[in-house]
Amino acid sequence: MSATPGWWTLARAIVWSELRGRGWRLFTFPVGAGLLFLGLLGATAVSPDVLTGTTREALAAQAGQYFTGMDSDTALLLAMLVIQGPYFIAMTGAVLSVLVTQTGVGQRLAAGELELLLSGPYREREVFVALVAGSFALSLLMIGVLLAMALGGSALILAWADVSLTTDAVRLLGTGLLTPIPLALWTTFLAVVVYLRFPDTPVNGTEPGNLLILAGILPAVSLIVLPTAVPSVDPFLLSVSGIGVSLAAVGVGWVSVRRWLDVKTLL
């Protein structure tokens, strides 16, 4: 037996079996989302008129605020990449985390694997942490693929448009790109709790589990909606708020779970 913590051993086993079992199929959604993002960015570069009026106005306002001293098309492109981009990735990452949890941990729980895992050399809390950690690791992997596609493709588009990032843009982008991580942790945490409590929750539907997950994704959705609805909002502050709210939600959730996590009600 190894001397590593139980949850770590178990989380690694879960990640291994998910990667082994689903392989490349795991990556179809992040690749698709990455292509969608690049499509939007490309459309902004080639013809900003394809964007909706509200989005275009929000981008123009943000461009005027943060990317002055350059032509308007370039500023619009940068606003799209630096301000909207990280939030698009954060929201997609949150949805990805729910999907990864539903199709992985959720299906395991529905099949009765919880009972089997609890018969292993682990405490119930270790099993819970392992389920969250395993699913979160997979979510990060998906977000990594999405990021690699979005940023790699963006770099190509920026090079093609002959645009280079300013120091301020790098700072905004860096902070923004941290947001998907705590958001993914929060949505993964919530999804594991939901699938533990309601193992038969389907991906779609209006069951209590779905409604809870929907409520959990709202902070991520608000990150997309807010900068469009209120273009003057400070993206740096928005990112920091998103990170803070997500981590606080995980903290509150963890305290609650420690109180109600009762194997009797879950088996």
Partner: protein, 305 residues
């Protein structure tokens, strides 16, 4: 190899009491647990395997409480009702996964997979997808999975349910050989034939309590109490004749079942019946079966503990 002790365990799901001060010891060998649906068999296994903490009382594996020290659960293999195998993985990958869950290193995993698949005769299935297995094969694979950690105790909750007779027999034979290696097998079933065939020790549970425990012969002996036995008499005689002779009877088609005290022989009974003018067509000594025992113990009050 390992002994399980359950001491005065109580557990309730809301208002429903599943275990009501249950105490029992499982020693190495084949322990068969019988009881009606809802009697607490599955909950007993969950508590004994350290899956579920009891509300009060204690379960120990070789003296260690698995809730307080989960590392002792490496000595336990638990097969819940149903066979959860990951359908996206092959048999080898399913075993590999469970080896990782148990924290076995790569070398040990490979060795144990080879040994256990040979022992359970599933070596030929290793590269098959778990979804392609028959029910019997799936059950053998799930038990192989339990054996990866070389546990001294196996809890098997109705493992042959849904298997065809030949698959069930093959599985029973393999389990029997595991028990003969010194393991403690705790096996719940509704199949009395299986129970009779396999059990070194029988445990009957009713309403969350042990109502009888022991070898089949001992239990039947205790059920018969004073050594009384039953004799079926095919006769046209009415109950009044038996009243006059002073024996207890109950009505069956074509005659009566007589409960004969140990001191009275069948020939004494026949002689007394003839003396009272009864015409006797046939006499059969009835053997008390496990089914009789099960019916009586699960329907009546507690007989023994």
């Amino acid at each position: 190899m390992a002994t399980i002790e359950i001491d005065d365990v109580r557990l309730a799901y809301g208002d429903v009491t599943a275990l009501d001060g249950l105490s029992v010891t499982f020693d190495p060998g084949f322990n068969v647990i019988l009881g009606p649906n809802g009697s607490g068999k599955t909950t007993l296994f969950r508590v004994a395997a350290g899956v579920l903490p009891p509300d009060s009382g204690e379960a120990t594996i070789d003296g260690t409480n698995p809730i307080a020290d989960p590392s002792v659960k490496t000595q336990v293999g638990y097969l819940p009702h149903g066979t959860p195998l990951n359908g996206q993985l092959t048999v080898r990958e399913n075993l590999e996964y469970w080896g990782r869950v148990l924290g076995l290193d790569a070398k040990t995993r490979a060795e144990r997979i080879e040994e256990t698949t040979a022992a359970m005769a599933v070596g030929g299935l290793l590269d098959r997808a778990a979804t392609d297995l028959s029910r019997g094969q799936r059950q053998r694979v799930t038990i192989t999975r339990l054996l990866l950690g070389d546990p001294g105790v196996l809890f098997l909750d109705e493992p042959t349910t849904g298997l065809d007779p030949s698959a069930a027999r093959a599985l029973r034979d393999q389990l029997d050989s595991l028990a003969s290696e010194g393991r403690t097998l705790c096996y719940s079933t509704h199949n009395l034939y299986e129970a009779e065939l396999l059990a070194d020790e029988l445990v009957l549970i009713k309403a969350g309590r042990v109502v009888a425990r022991g070898r089949k012969e001992e239990l039947i002996g205790r059920l018969n109490g004073d050594g009384a036995r039953e004799v079926r008499i095919e006769t046209g005689a009415d109950a009044e004749v038996f009243d006059r002779i002073g024996v207890e009877v109950r009505d069956v088609p074509d005659g009566w079942i007589v409960t004969l005290p140990e001191a009275q022989s069948v020939s004494d009974l026949i002689a007394a019946l003839v003396e009272h003018g009864a015409a006797i067509e046939a006499v059969h000594e009835e053997e008390t079966t496990l089914e009789d025992l099960y019916s009586q113990l699960t329907e009546d009050e507690e007989v023994t503990g």
